[in-house]
Amino acid sequence: MNSIWEYANPRKFMATSAFLLPWTAGLAALCLVTGLVWGFFFTPDDFRQGSTVKIIYIHVPSAIMAVNAWLMMLVASLIWVIRRHHVSALAAKAAAPVGMVFTVIALATGALWGQPMWGTWWEWDPRLTSFLILFLFYLGYMALWEAIENPDSAADLTSVLCLVGSVFAVISRYALLFWNQGLHQGATLSLDKEQNISNVFWYPLVIALCGFGFLFLALVLYRTQTEIRARRLKALIAQERMG
């Protein structure tokens, strides 16, 4: 293995991802089953929140992955803009719907958790609102991909949108902190804090988190493969027509 840029070659990428896909998918299934079963059935209830705390094993990992999916799209877009590797642009395209679904899961489980705990499905809290905005960014990004016919132009324009959108997403995040006080609790998973989540909940949560990470990886690999195949098919059809 000489350099990471080898995987910019679609054939190389296809071979490697075909090898990786069963492993990541298997690890995702294993971690998800272990983490969720452990979390749902073998942890005590929280002394204040009762058994509703158990939704944390879906809510927190999907929220973390929703943000990280956008970060991955940002990096992939940068690679496309700078080095013009088609696989990178397709990976960004493939990651968008996955990230959007994670955002929806985080919002939905948050609403389900918020109803018994806060007495409301929705509150204009900075964290909740920034997730809603993140969802809108995903929608706009995917809509722009759909709207442009030329695949290279679409990749270019969506990359520019992703770069500018990231800047504005960060500004929005801090603008919202300024705008309203939140109901949502602060971070309790940090590695350097005094007061953190208890270890009883922490271990299954980390496993579930790994599961969501592998799930994201597997889905993105799979969807990127699909995109590459779709593009090859298009090229073949174009060749047929020419011949």
């Binding site: 905005i133 809108l136 960014f137 929608l139 706009g140 809509a143 722009l144 709207a147 442009i148 132009s153 270019d156 324009l157 520019v160 949108l161 770069l163 500018v164 959108g165 800047v167 504005f168 997403a169 500004i171 929005s172 603008a175 919202l176 300024f178 705008w179």
Partner: protein
């Protein structure tokens, strides 16, 4: 570049629909609000800052597709792109022309509509200041959105979907400034933050808009 600016302003003035329409939209928007929420002056006074900012934002949004669309359709954009003016400069000039024909009239009209909506007296200077400092950001962001979608047929709705999330921080700080001004609280901080967003947008977005234009002109 000055010739370009003059040309855009002339077109907006003479071809009709530039100034007038977005101002009229702003007026209609502000007129419709009391029908929606009822004529109680207390309610109107509390929501007036947000309504005025939202109206200005939507009036800006509706005139965005005009920025590049006509020049794109009749080929003027290709001609300008081959001229010595850099595309970044073109994007900046287009944003400026959009602001002069849309943003500035809105700033002037906003206090009048503030009276209609029973805006508290202390809020007027903050309303004018925040709109004056904030609408250039709306024009710059909008120009970027227009450049992204110029090649798309019937891209109007898509343009709104792309641009409105980007408008969020400007709206938050702009409206917050007026709300605080109305309540007699300290309003300078959000005003400065609006100014910061405007300066940042003016510095970055012409380059992003030019990059998008280059892709679309390829």
């Amino acid at each position: 570049m000055i010739a370009l600016l003059k040309r855009d302003l002339m077109l907006a003035l003479r071809a009709g629909g530039g100034f007038g329409l977005s101002l009229a939209f702003f007026l209609i928007f502000a007129t419709l609000v009391p029908f929606g929420v009822g004529p109680q002056t207390g309610v109107l006074a509390t929501i007036a800052p947000g309504i005025l900012w939202l109206g200005a934002l939507l009036a800006c949004l509706l005139s965005l597709d005009r920025i590049f669309q006509l020049d794109w359709e009749d080929g003027t954009l290709d001609l300008i792109a081959t001229s010595p003016v850099p595309l970044e400069g073109l994007a900046a000039i287009k944003a400026l022309a959009h602001w002069l024909t849309t943003g500035l009239p809105l700033v002037v009209a906003a206090p009048v509509l503030g009276v209609l909506l029973n805006l508290p007296g202390a809020a007027y200077p903050w309303l004018v200041a925040s709109l004056l400092l904030g609408t250039p950001a709306l024009s710059a962001i909008g120009t970027f959105g227009a450049a992204l979608t110029v090649g798309i047929k019937r891209g109007g709705l898509l343009l709104s979907l792309l641009v409105l999330p980007l408008y969020m921080p400007t709206l938050i700080f702009g409206a917050l400034c007026v709300v605080r001004g109305a309540a007699g609280q300290e309003a300078l901080t959000p005003l400065l933050l609006v100014a910061g967003i405007t300066l940042g947008s003016l510095a970055i977005l012409p380059f992003a808009a030019a990059a998008a234009l280059r892709v679309n002109l390829r």
